[in-house]
Symmetry: C2
Subunit: 425 residues, 2 copies
Amino acid sequence: MNYSQLSKEELRQIYDLQKGEYDSLVAQGYSVDIARGKPCNEQLDISMPMLAAEGIENMPKSYRNYGMLDGIPEMKKIFADMLEVDPSQVILGGSSSLNLMYDTIQRALQFGVTGGKPWNSAHVKFLCPVPGYDRHFAICEHFGIEMISIPMNEEGPNMDLVEQLVANDDAIKGMWCVPKYSNPTGITYSDAVVERLANMKTKADDFRIFWDNAYVVHDLAEVSDHLANIMVLCDKAGHPNRVYQFASTSKVTLAGAGVSCIATGKDNVKDILSHMTMQTISYNKVWQYIHYLFLKDMDNVRAIMAKQREIIKPKFDTLITAFEDSFGSDSGIASWTNPNGGYFITLDVLDGCAKRVCELCKKAGLTLTAAGAPFPYGIDVNDRTLRIAPTFTSDSDLIVATRILTCCVKLACVEKLIDIKVNAN
Amino acid sequence: MNYSQLSKEELRQIYDLQKGEYDSLVAQGYSVDIARGKPCNEQLDISMPMLAAEGIENMPKSYRNYGMLDGIPEMKKIFADMLEVDPSQVILGGSSSLNLMYDTIQRALQFGVTGGKPWNSAHVKFLCPVPGYDRHFAICEHFGIEMISIPMNEEGPNMDLVEQLVANDDAIKGMWCVPKYSNPTGITYSDAVVERLANMKTKADDFRIFWDNAYVVHDLAEVSDHLANIMVLCDKAGHPNRVYQFASTSKVTLAGAGVSCIATGKDNVKDILSHMTMQTISYNKVWQYIHYLFLKDMDNVRAIMAKQREIIKPKFDTLITAFEDSFGSDSGIASWTNPNGGYFITLDVLDGCAKRVCELCKKAGLTLTAAGAPFPYGIDVNDRTLRIAPTFTSDSDLIVATRILTCCVKLACVEKLIDIKVNAN
């Protein structure tokens, strides 16, 4: 059923039906939150044995003391294997990769990169594939970096546009990428896109890609999406320091209590450490070692992630099945992603309806990520895109969430269509 | 024996004697390091039971997930009791208080404090009591902040000078203080000094004191030095946001793997969190909880510190006894502190000899903190002050260290005195 082809009367009937359903949902006084990409308790339970720190007596005594700014070799090895880089390219951080990203941008603004001019000696712009991760955009806004939206397609960011922009504007110093199971669309960049990112000519010779590989091992399908190794391609293309790659175990072990890392070219590593040594003596190497004891190696990391998949895949399925049942494939008011990994489903509704859906949901007790959040400055010009985070919520609450959400989408879109038809008269 | 009153011939005799001793020490091929204030293995062993995380099953499940930017209440309470402030004034960080200091200065430079102008919109100066902590000065130098040395006396920084400077120069935005068992002199600020710091008029209305209370519970004597509560005094004086206070458990539990905090006025707390929320979602709350399980409360913290004192007090005594035996009280070439707490002994040698002592020690296999390090820009204009860190070294190595050190002090100073006498002729 394509809603746009319905008559005003048919729409009014649907409206009345959904309004009745909506009022009864509101009356229930529900309180459900699917706003943030947080792991659920069952996922976190998997890593609780880590806290027994079995084998800690084998930890080198020096790990309990100051020093080793770049982290312990055991954990660097695991990240190097995970990201397919050399351990010498890895610097371990504290529990937050976001913090590493923030610090990296701050340093670049204040000190420049690898001996270049401080970025903030002139106006700075970043390319931001959209929809994207709200916290990336928040960092840019905080630092006064101008954000240029780049539409995402099935293969990743629109590379024709990216290449044209970076080739002609030396104010463009950076680009955000979540290359695998992108937040929130779930798209994995194609080989061609990664290749073009590695090879493109940039007017700014201190241009950097912030490659937030947050979901590198976070598969929802049996087979992991293939992501080309951008750092190898950059090396080949003669741009060995183009990429800062970030990852963490926040969604492997414990959220907000993982180990983070940055992996990057040799000159960048040296540059970062020269500043970082002013900032701290070392990050928490004991926590790094406790992680190493639990994670062991990449085979074991994959086994942990398989257990997590068993827990969260059904949650994605619940939502997607509900969307299929409620809207079908040609409603014209809703389309959604069915990602192979990551933490989000993107739900696109009829243009001009996303904010209204949020508002209706909120009144019915369902908290969504604010409409617009996945866009720079919080502005979705089409007012279309909703980010859904199904992982944290219990199965029963998720069923409530789908009922409220599908009802509110219909209600908001039918309201809009009636308006359009009224105005057309 | 006052060396300056000896004849050239007497000095020459001492020189020959010490040179013989020195050559035999060099021949031994020793390798001992007393450069950094690191806890020794026996101190760190005290906290190893922490890693069993006994009681972790009682941890609220939400601590394993994102959120709680300011940290968990259990650990905030311990720091609040330690620093005699309200828990609402405490923000917990990662494992490094230095990192919190760096970030606080970076934010002030870039964004200003509590709504004021960014500090880096004009030239910035900091007051630096000397001798002081080299890493504080390194942060200033890194950010291009001009450092003004303030001599320390028995009661703390020279307050006449401090008051005069801050009253007349609005470029002075900050002041470093290690108010208890100061690094490296061991001095604890007197009540009068703290009172004057809280009450003094500053030309810059966004002036801040960086109160690095690194050694707040790190006593070497039976009775802890009294330090007045600057935050209470600032409140009374109408300057509730004058002080950023820092502390950590790095030298209570594990070095580089503790929990850090910042304690400050209400407006500062709000201001800091408004920026910090861009930088990270939360610090490691699981680690904070593991700390809480082990530390329990301030009585237990004091019991842990008493155990540490038993281990490190004899090391301080070894050095001080050796200094007394080697130099006595009126040598005119060496005087030293006998601190009630902290991690350092300051050894002042004859003016113009500190660098030479370091050089001689190095050749004999003893690494000292570089002469000059406790001063801004690494420059000790008197070339007089050496910072000795006795805690990390084993007892047997410490005996070697005292032999090398006392010999090199005598050698360097006698060289200098002979030179002076030769030039006077």
